[in-house]
Point group: C2
Chain length 138, copies 2
């Protein structure tokens, strides 16, 4: 399915989250490392980066890649959804590992607004099952 404008693919999602979680604040991440994290070859990772650049979510030069402000916002939003859904699943009886895997399949599709409402319904937990904080604002 062709992505609608502003929509991201699973790979792009994985790349955003990798950058968000593995690159120290304001420090670029090497293309090579991104490729390793995504378990693809560097040219493949590069093409993902190029798509993120087109969408204004990342910037790169000489294999040094950083998220833009916009990219960070999107990543945060995905993490909000991810951790909320993960918490819901765990509260429902799904194992932590399954919950994490399954959450990654939908966290870039579910609207953040829906996640915020679900979060309230399940009792406003402050952290996901792994203990990571659930982002507050956008």
């Amino acid at each position: 399915m062709k992505n609608r404008p502003n929509e991201i693919s699973k790979r792009e999602r994985d790349c955003l989250i990798t950058l968000e979680e593995e690159s120290p604040r304001d420090f670029p991440m090497r293309l090579h490392q991104i490729a390793v994290s995504l378990k693809v070859k560097p040219p493949t990772a590069l093409s993902v980066i190029r798509r993120l650049e087109k969408k204004g979510l990342a910037e790169s030069r000489d294999g040094m890649v950083i998220l833009t402000e916009s990219g960070m916002r999107v990543a945060k939003s995905i993490l909000l959804v991810h951790r909320t859904y993960e918490a819901l699943l765990c509260q429902s009886g799904v194992s932590e590992n399954s919950a994490c895997y399954d959450a990654a399949e939908v966290d870039y599709i579910i609207p953040a607004d829906d996640a915020r409402l679900i979060l309230k319904k399940i009792g406003n937990p402050k952290v996901c099952p792994h203990g990571k904080p659930i982002p507050e604002e956008e």
Copy 2:
């Protein structure tokens, strides 16, 4: 993202649900009508049908299309997830229309097992917000 084996795309999902909901019991649906429901041209609908056939989910001859046993099971499973997630969203305060739209974006991705556990957590409602029954067994 290439679909893993046994995985279906959004279009295939829409097509399965269309067949499940619009074709009378054991009666085939016309390709033309499927195209209208999916809001695509007949050749496009045909290519979707062909993919479903390859996966053993549908059969067709001369534009007469029916779900296989397997296709019906998959459709039922998607509806279970759809209505469960829809119920969750509505209980959380999402409008009925948004809930339905948003549920269709993820109901073919979320595992039925997860949905069954969520269903229990939200109080085992018997119907979705539209009043349609939530399928029991698989």
